[in-house]
Symmetry: C2
Subunit: 380 residues, 2 copies
């Protein structure tokens, strides 16, 4: 018999889809005539309509951040440990909104969707969307939901970049910005890893220039490799050592190229599981979005200038062992905010779990989020 | 007109090939009935036969460590900046021997060689050789050359691992051990990166289970990806930032998947150049050799016990920004040597160039090597 759904869960949830008819002019120059945004909500919007929190997902996330999709569903949303009644982001107080990003593969319009102009899937023809495009589409969703301003916008990694962009693009519509395990732009090494992931996908013969759907194949080797590369950068050297060390899968080394070390088995498994749940064209465009993100660019690289007009209060969080977006990168954001005299709190959480820490229920981390949210004043 | 060959070069050199008839029992259980070792030498063996230095190459190196192969050859050997008359390893004093490792693709017997039992290339049937196997084959080469004991054995990265193994397996035949940018065994993260490289090669349809020669193809996409992954780990985040930053190849971003950032162009170029010069089956077995190397293993993980019987004096060198084999890993070696009361000098060279530093003419580094070699007493 299955365990009942825990009491501190948001419980059973269903995604909703909102269609937008107003054309959206993307950064790349393409205009999307219409599009869908798939999203979930948890908690209730109060009468004052001032208790809404937007949760932005990262590279491979989606709209299903908390709760379960059915009684038999044993896998809750990706940030379930953080969102729920009495949890760090308390759904008894806040109304939480989590959309799947435009270009994603979770239900919002993206490469998997049917292009009305061709009646075929968009595939590689879906335009590359930017973090700014996402913020724009999320602002329109807020309009539909009657949310004039967010009590908070919150996200980790690429999600944290969306939070920064929100604070820049809509200073009056975001009262608190929680920027977690993020960076003001990718480093050269970050771009290099993304490029390897893309090359892996694009050189897979099954990729077929992105038109794999029509051939009923999936560039699984490429997508698997891309995930394996990504995965190494999500975990610290230390945690890999602690979890897997040099442990062998069998009793001794086999002098071959099958799985010999436990870490190989783990990586292959991670890669294979990913192939079943993610779309290769979406992975390509999401990594490009990461590469392009650089709000300081139009201020000649001056991040302080880019953040000058922000009005939100900020909480910036980094994790000591994160080498994808290291604490140094978070401090760049903090320094720029301080230079603007903005209200910013910063904490570097001691964790050996690497970049993935932001998804994990680390007590000190969740306590800090909870304390921060508790101090946000909302109406009734 | 071409520049003349510089005066501090060893000049024109030719590789030699030594055939061995005595069967070699490998760690994996396979017995090689006969094999060739291709090698180069620089300088002259003195009458006392005590001035020979063995140079061990790393993952993608070969026997061509110094000098030029022809008057028109503008690319000297891979460690030419370090080996030559008056250089750090002074060929006016020392007789330098550099073999291509067994299993390599530079001329020694390996996957590219003809298997006498089938009259076809060994390909994937060439057995996985270990660092111990290499040391054994190098010891036999020393016998042939009349070298009873090496004045020094020297190598960086995987080369440094061979030096350690020499000091353990033939304590009486190595007087000085120069272990540069190495580690006593791979970390879990190191193995993980190797596994990604292997998966990239093995999942390339042109790989054909390693029998690509017979099909007249090369798993070029896989080999290119493998090199790109490796390359990121050879360079520090800082040097990537300094050299490439977020610079674009064109004047603005193109919202596509072609080369947009300079780092992408660089990585692709590195990958493509590698395909032309290296064999995929060799890459596979060399990375496995790296994975397996762990001299402490049969001493229950006790490196001190593994190094107890060494008689050589040691110079251990690391580089501050090396994150593939970080200074911490070199210090593990130093600590174990000190615990044995062995004679060890250690230096951590300030360099922002990452793991690749060991191949580069960093003045402080070469000065230290030179000073160390100057102190080695040799006869006439």
């Amino acid at each position: 018999m299955l365990d009942p759904i825990p009491a501190d869960s948001v419980g059973l949830v269903s995604p909703r889809t909102q269609h937008f008819d107003t054309p959206l002019a993307l950064d790349c120059g393409v205009v999307l005539d219409g599009y869908d945004i798939c999203f979930e909500t948890y908690g209730t919007l109060n009468e004052a309509q001032d208790n809404a929190v937007l949760v932005c997902h990262a590279l491979t996330g989606d709209h299903h951040a908390a709760g379960f999709h059915s009684e038999n569903d044993r896998k809750p949303g990706w940030w379930d440990n953080c969102i729920g009644p009495g949890k760090a982001l308390d759904t008894d107080r806040f109304f939480v909104v989590c959309p799947n990003n435009l270009g994603g593969c979770g239900g919002s319009t993206g490469p998997l969707a049917i292009n009305p102009q061709t009646n075929k899937r968009y595939g590689p023809d879906f335009p590359i969307v930017t973090v700014r495009d996402w913020v724009e589409s999320q602002a329109r969703l807020a309009d539909v939901l009657g949310i004039e301003s967010w009590a908070a916008v919150m996200g980790g990694s690429l999600g944290g970049m969306q939070v920064l962009q929100w604070a820049i693009d809509y200073p009056a519509r975001i009262r608190n910005a929680l920027v977690i395990a993020a960076a003001p732009r990718l480093s050269t090494q970050n771009i290099a890893f993304n490029e390897i992931a893309r090359q892996a996908i694009r050189s897979d013969p099954n990729f077929r220039d992105g038109h794999y759907y029509e051939h009923d194949v999936v560039p699984e080797h490429g997508l698997k490799l891309a995930r394996m590369v990504g995965h190494i950068t999500y975990l610290s050297d230390d945690v890999l050592h602690t979890r897997f060390g040099r442990e062998l899968s069998g009793s001794k080394i086999g002098f071959g190229f099958g799985v010999e070390f436990e870490i190989e088995s783990y990586l292959r498994h991670q890669g294979e599981a990913f192939v079943g749940r993610f779309d290769a064209n979406t992975y390509l465009l999401m990594t490009r979005s990461l590469d392009y993100f650089d709000p300081a660019q139009k201020f000649d690289g001056d991040l302080t200038a880019a953040l000058r007009e922000c009005q939100a209060r900020f909480l910036v969080v980094s994790f000591t062992s994160d080498w994808r977006f290291s604490p140094t990168r978070s401090r760049e954001i903090v320094r720029a905010l301080l230079d603007c005299d903005h209200d910013v709190s910063y904490v570097d959480i001691e964790s050996e779990l690497g970049h993935d820490s932001f998804l994990l229920p680390i007590p000190q981390y969740h306590k800090i989020l909870q304390t921060y949210f508790n101090r946000i004043e909302i109406g009734t």
